[in-house]
């Protein structure tokens, strides 16, 4: 869907040349949610702006939807932009227009006749859950509602790619979750490819299939979100991963746990995304004559299942404990016995 080959972007400023994007190679597949994470100044915004031609690369090739956007003229580029739309951290709505008029704007640009515009706007208002707000002005909306308008506006011309530049960074955690859910449902319903940039690992963890980690203009690590979570290579990636699950802390307290729960067995389950913990726990309790206590848990729910660790105390008959451990093994959850009696 999107492919970048040796893409660089340099800015010449009074202070000298800034290499904002440095020799980046990426392949983003049709229909996936691709995350790019990095700290401020890493070059994320510049990279995403290259994808719709708002910036021209100083080197390399960018192919979006089969078109080499680096070499086409301004007219064709404008056509491409109807199909590669964008949402922003600060929403960037026109304050002089109502919600409905804001959503209609890209349709006006694309030359859609008025009656069709009205119908499409109503559809979009419903899609993003803003029924009844069509005649409000942006100043009358909350941040989350403004971003919904931004999303509706971006979807107006039925794009194939949606670029999100820190789309949730100005929102509180609950609103962030609601907007991320909306993005996932759009991705599933419309088959839209989403490229999302953020500095928050929670966002990547929650909705992305794959992730690229950017530092100093370079992509330093790339892969499936789960793999990157489980096995981060670069120091910067490790820092991002610890944002969500602090495993080092877990390790330090294990000895304390052993002292605290001297009976039965302490076992550590590691979830790698294919399962969620709830069905396993409930079956464990129902099927085996055991006391099951949750000692400690650190589970993150990603798009493809749970990831993280759970420490359980199993107390009861020794053979029942062994059977239970066997059962957990069969659920494709790796288990580790922390202590013996």
């Amino acid at each position: 869907m999107i492919s970048l080959k040796d893409v660089s972007k340099k800015f010449n400023t009074k202070q000298g040349t800034i290499i904002a994007v440095d020799d980046v190679n990426l392949d983003i597949k049709q229909g996936e949610i691709f995350g790019i994470i990095g700290y401020s100044g890493a070059g994320k915004s510049t990279l995403i702006r290259l994808l719709n031609g708002l910036e021209k690369p100083t080197g390399g090739k960018i192919i979006v939807n089969g078109k080499e956007i680096t070499s086409i003229n301004e007219d064709k580029l404008r056509q491409v932009r109807h199909k590669v739309s964008m949402i922003f951290q600060h929403f960037n709505l026109l304050w002089s227009r109502t919600v409905a008029e804001n959503i209609a704007f890209p349709l006006e640009i694309a030359g859609v006749p008025k009656d069709q515009r009205l119908a499409r706007v109503n559809e979009l208002i419903e899609l993003v859950g803003l029924e009844g707000r069509g005649n409000y002005y942006p100043s009358q909306l909350s941040g989350g509602q403004k971003q919904r308008v931004g999303i509706a506006r971006a979807l107006a011309n039925r794009p194939e790619v949606l670029l999100c530049d820190e789309a949730t960074s100005a929102l509180d955690p609950e609103t962030t979750d609601a907007i991320l859910d909306l993005l996932v449902s759009i991705n599933e319903k419309l088959g839209l490819t989403i490229v999302l940039i953020t500095h928050e690992m929670q966002v990547i963890q929650k909705i992305c299939n794959r992730v690229a980690v950017m530092e100093g203009g370079r992509v330093v690590e790339e892969g499936d979100v789960l793999e990157v979570f489980q096995n981060p290579q670069q120091p910067i990636t490790k820092r991002f991963v610890t944002q969500v699950s602090d495993t080092t802390q877990t390790m330090q307290t294990i000895q304390n746990l052993v002292d605290l729960y001297p009976n039965g067995k302490l076992i550590k389950l590691t979830f790698v995304g294919e399962q969620t913990e709830q069905p396993i726990l409930s079956r464990l309790i129902k099927q085996f004559k055991l006391e099951v206590n949750i000692v400690q848990g650190n589970i993150s729910h990603t798009k493809s299942g749970a990831f993280g660790t759970l420490i359980l105390q199993l107390d009861g008959d020794a053979s029942a404990i062994d059977e239970a451990i066997q059962f957990i093994h069969e659920q494709k959850v790796s288990t580790e016995v922390i202590n013996n009696d």
Partner: protein, 222 residues
């Protein structure tokens, strides 16, 4: 009562002068709005990073605006006499005042237009570009509507300046309340005529300010 306070005022003549002032102000405000907007947009769009970024064009427009903004209006009228003669074949009457009024006021308004346009959030312009908008669409559907409150309050201030300019133009024979105050009031030593002209001009200015404030408030949805 009013005739004892203003014994020398010729009311029909005063009324006619007021209408002339109104006419000059209205027409010159419309022309100034058009030329000022065009100049302001040109200044904005030729500045660095904008759609028509061009150092030379930006410098030339800037120089034109700054020079004509700096020339005192009364001197500008005199400087423009040959130009007016060439354009209109006369230098007397309300119409003859227009070249000087517009050339004097448009650069002033252009600066205010520029300030208004610069206040527009850069992100909004970027959003419009990301939707595939042409520069003409950006001008009509983003730049002008998004800066409208600033444009309206700017034209209100400019319009009030233009009332003053018409009075000055009156001294060299453009007509209106300025001419009346100068010829009938000052030169014939009839203070009441000058006073009445002043009162009418003040009323006009207050009405303009009130209308301008009303519109600005009504259109500002921020």
């Amino acid at each position: 009562m009013i005739n004892t306070l203003f014994p020398n005022v010729d009311w029909p003549k005063m009324w006619e002068a007021a209408l002339e002032t109104l006419y000059m102000t209205a027409v010159s405000t419309i022309l100034t709005a058009i030329f000022g907007l065009a100049l302001g947009l040109l200044l904005f769009l030729t500045s660095p990073q904008q759609a028509w970024a061009n150092k030379l064009a930006n410098w030339l427009t800037g120089a034109f605006v700054n020079i004509f903004r700096s020339i005192p209006f009364i001197i500008l009228i005199i400087l423009l006499i040959p130009f007016t003669k060439l354009l209109l074949d006369t230098i007397r009457g309300p119409n003859a005042a227009f070249p000087a009024l517009v050339i004097g006021a448009a650069p002033f308004y252009a600066r205010m237009v520029l300030i208004g346009l610069r206040e527009i959030d850069k992100g909004v312009l970027e959003a419009a570009r990301s939707m595939g908008a042409k520069t003409s669409t950006i001008i009509w559907k983003v730049l002008l509507p998004e800066s409208m409150p600033a444009l309206v309050s700017g034209i209100t201030v400019t319009c009030i300046s233009l009332v003053g300019y018409t009075a000055m133009a009156g001294i060299i024979g453009a007509g209106g309340l300025g001419t009346l105050a100068f010829l009938d009031g000052f030169q014939r030593n009839q203070t009441d005529v000058t006073l009445m002209s002043t009162i009418l001009i003040l009323i006009l200015v207050f009405i303009i300010q009130w209308i301008g404030d009303m519109i600005t408030m009504k259109i500002d949805k921020r």
